[in-house]
């Protein structure tokens, strides 16, 4: 009884916190509007046409062109600029931003965008952490092509939004953990923990063995874990960069950040699929908590994922991609993807014990899934109908998240976080329940 009321209380509390942070977010936008005499910071230019690579005076958008707006009034940090472009497909662009601070200092910042992904009627965040008086924006694109920016939007309070965002995200996560902790009987939880501790060294030993077995008799050994994604990236870049008319500098990093997430999910779930069946000799001989096996495969894939991260870092260095502090948030998409994979692994490994078809189906599914996730192609290459289907794909969100923090330097929104957490937690809960329900029967079918 007491436990139930506590859970209800926690749920209500988290909803209230969600609403408060949401309201805070909305009101912060209102404040910024008020500060500018109810002017919204949208700057329009109908004659902003960009042609070729040559610098063109008409290719500037300037905030001072609009006399009713002076950013000086805002007297605040301009943190992010949203571009609303109507670029046609298959164009890539570099945006140069010139800005002047209230003290008269002039700055230039240049940023290559994976434009075709982001600028097609979408918002792009551009962080300028200075007190800005005047902003001019110039867009370059490939010779012979024309593109246009219709509007751009400035949200000076964006950084507050992010704090609210992080805060509510952490709270919601905490609520989930606490609620789960309450749902599970405390004593049985202790029991689980004790068993887990006992078999922790088995877990590490099995992972170590997997690594050892993988690199036995190869000269480069572990180095392959870094080389492999790099070589893969080179091949894919050579083949696909032209197909999608990517800016050649952008494509490798676009690909490898997507593959970083996707390959982890694909590897961990494929390995987990046969993990219980593969452990048949062990399961038949001694008592071992069976969740160890899918967990082991997922953790093993995490190790590989960390090596791939080194590869990603190397690409960043070689191509001199601009670094943002948000890179430090890289564990978050990893955790989301891990929880999701673990849940899926529990489902697959237990179902596969009873129906071996799952294994055959899954290898087909993984291939389909890869093409269904924007890893080698930009989202803008898809027709609108496909994009709405894409939104049912959890991997789309994890990949997006990874690119947001690694490449674009933006903090993913609250909504993005909630969607990611939702997919991960729901999958994990279903996986755990299914696995727990069927695990005693495994031994009779392996």
């Amino acid at each position: 009884m007491k436990k139930k009321t506590l859970i209800v209380f926690l749920v209500i509390l988290s909803i209230i916190i969600g609403i408060i942070t949401g309201v805070y977010t909305v009101s912060s936008d209102n404040i910024s509007n008020k500060m500018n005499n109810n002017q919204s910071h949208v700057f329009t230019s109908d004659n902003m046409v960009f042609e070729g690579w040559q610098k063109n005076e008409t290719s500037y958008i300037s905030t001072t062109k609009d006399p009713s707006v002076t950013l000086y009034d805002i007297n605040s940090y301009v943190n992010n600029i949203y571009f609303n472009g109507t670029l046609s497909q298959y164009e890539s662009a570099t945006i140069k931003i010139f800005y002047t601070t209230e003290k008269g200092e002039a700055f230039t910042e240049e940023k290559s965008f994976l434009s075709i992904v982001e600028l097609k009627g979408q918002k792009v965040y551009f962080s300028v952490n200075k007190n800005v008086y005047d902003i001019k924006i110039q867009l370059y694109n490939e010779a012979g092509l024309t593109s246009k920016i219709n509007t751009f939007e400035i949200n000076p309070q964006y950084i507050n939004f992010s704090f609210a965002n992080i805060f509510s995200f952490v709270t919601i996560l905490l609520m989930i953990v606490i609620a789960l902790g309450l749902f599970i009987n405390r004593n049985s939880f202790k029991g689980y923990y004790k068993v887990f501790k006992k078999y922790k060294s088995l877990l590490t030993n099995l992972i170590e063995r997997d690594l050892k077995v993988k690199y036995r008799r190869s000269v480069l050994g572990l180095l392959w874990s870094i080389l492999n994604p790099l070589l893969m990236m080179l091949v894919i870049t050579a083949v696909f960069a032209n197909v999608f008319k990517f800016n050649i500098k952008d494509f490798p990093i676009y690909y490898i950040t997507g593959a970083w997430i996707f390959n982890f999910v694909s590897e961990s779930t494929t390995l987990s699929l046969t993990s219980v069946i593969g452990a048949a000799p062990l399961i038949k001989k001694v008592y071992i908590p069976k969740y160890i096996f899918p967990l082991q495969k997922c953790l093993y894939s995490v190790v590989n994922m960390l090596f791939t991260l080194i590869a990603v870092a190397i690409v960043f260095l070689i191509l001199q991609i601009q670094l943002h502090w948000t890179i430090l948030l890289f564990p978050i998409p990893m955790i989301y993807a891990f929880v999701f994979s673990l849940g899926l692994s529990f489902i697959l490994s237990s179902v596969n014990v009873f129906f071996r078809d799952v294994g055959h189906l899954y290898s087909v599914w993984i291939t389909a899934w890869m093409y269904f996730t924007p890893i080698i192609y930009p989202i803008s290459a898809l027709p609108a109908a496909m994009i709405s289907i894409l939104k049912l794909n959890p991997l789309y969100y994890y990949v997006q998240y990874a690119r947001d923090v690694l490449i674009y330097g933006t903090i993913p929104s609250l909504q993005q976080n909630i969607i990611c957490i939702g997919f991960s937690v729901v999958t994990l809960v279903i996986g755990l329940l299914l696995f727990k329900k069927t695990q005693d029967k495994f031994i009779l079918y392996i």
């Binding site: 006992k198 060294s201 590490t204 030993n205 000799p281 001989k285 001694v286 129906f355 009779l444 079918y445």
Partner: protein, 247 residues
Amino acid sequence: MPDLSDVIIVNNVTMRFNMPKEKVDSIKEYLIKFLKRQLKFEEFVALNNVSLTIKKGEVIGFVGLNGSGKSTLLKIISGILKPSEGTAISIGSISPLIELGAGFDMDLTARENIFLNGSVLGYSKHTMEQKYDEIIEFSELQEFQDVAIKNYSSGMIARLGFSIATITRPEILIVDEILSVGDFLFQRKSEKRIQEMMNGGTTVLIVSHSIDQIERLCDRVVWLDKGKIKATGNTSEICEMYKNTTR
């Protein structure tokens, strides 16, 4: 009322194995069979309503013909199998020597396998580091510790497995026909080790087809026949009865 000194309480345990006439393990087959209502399982009762309590420090022998359910019962007691009906409770740490060398990886060396198998049995890394030399010494494999075990003879592998499994003194030891591994010198040595554990107060459950061994070691004998306990009691009495069975 369970006695405080009871360490194993087996209560009305029935173990049924589903033996599908043909193995159905694809969804399509399953669906077809399910729709046609052909999904008949031949139920096989390996254990039929078995109850048993064992006190701390007892040495129990299990005898019975092949397929009478001895291994199944020991697997249920050690938690490897879950019974279809009934409960099996055991109190204290169990070391099941049902099949030796669980989790051995043939491509790894003895050294690596000792740590791997140790963790399979739930020993911490620290324990294994401490006991490493003792394991090697007992298994007499000093010269072979860095050789991949696929190059071992089967007796050597069994010796290694036995040495690891008996490295700590568990509260309950389950021995399923493994005392006949190794050469006669090692057999003597392993029997001695088990005897030491018995003297130290470990509860021991032994399955053996060597009546000699049972008579030598056990305080009490359980005779299983076709999944039921046919008789239980004094070692010499039951062994005498068992020896006189015919098929």
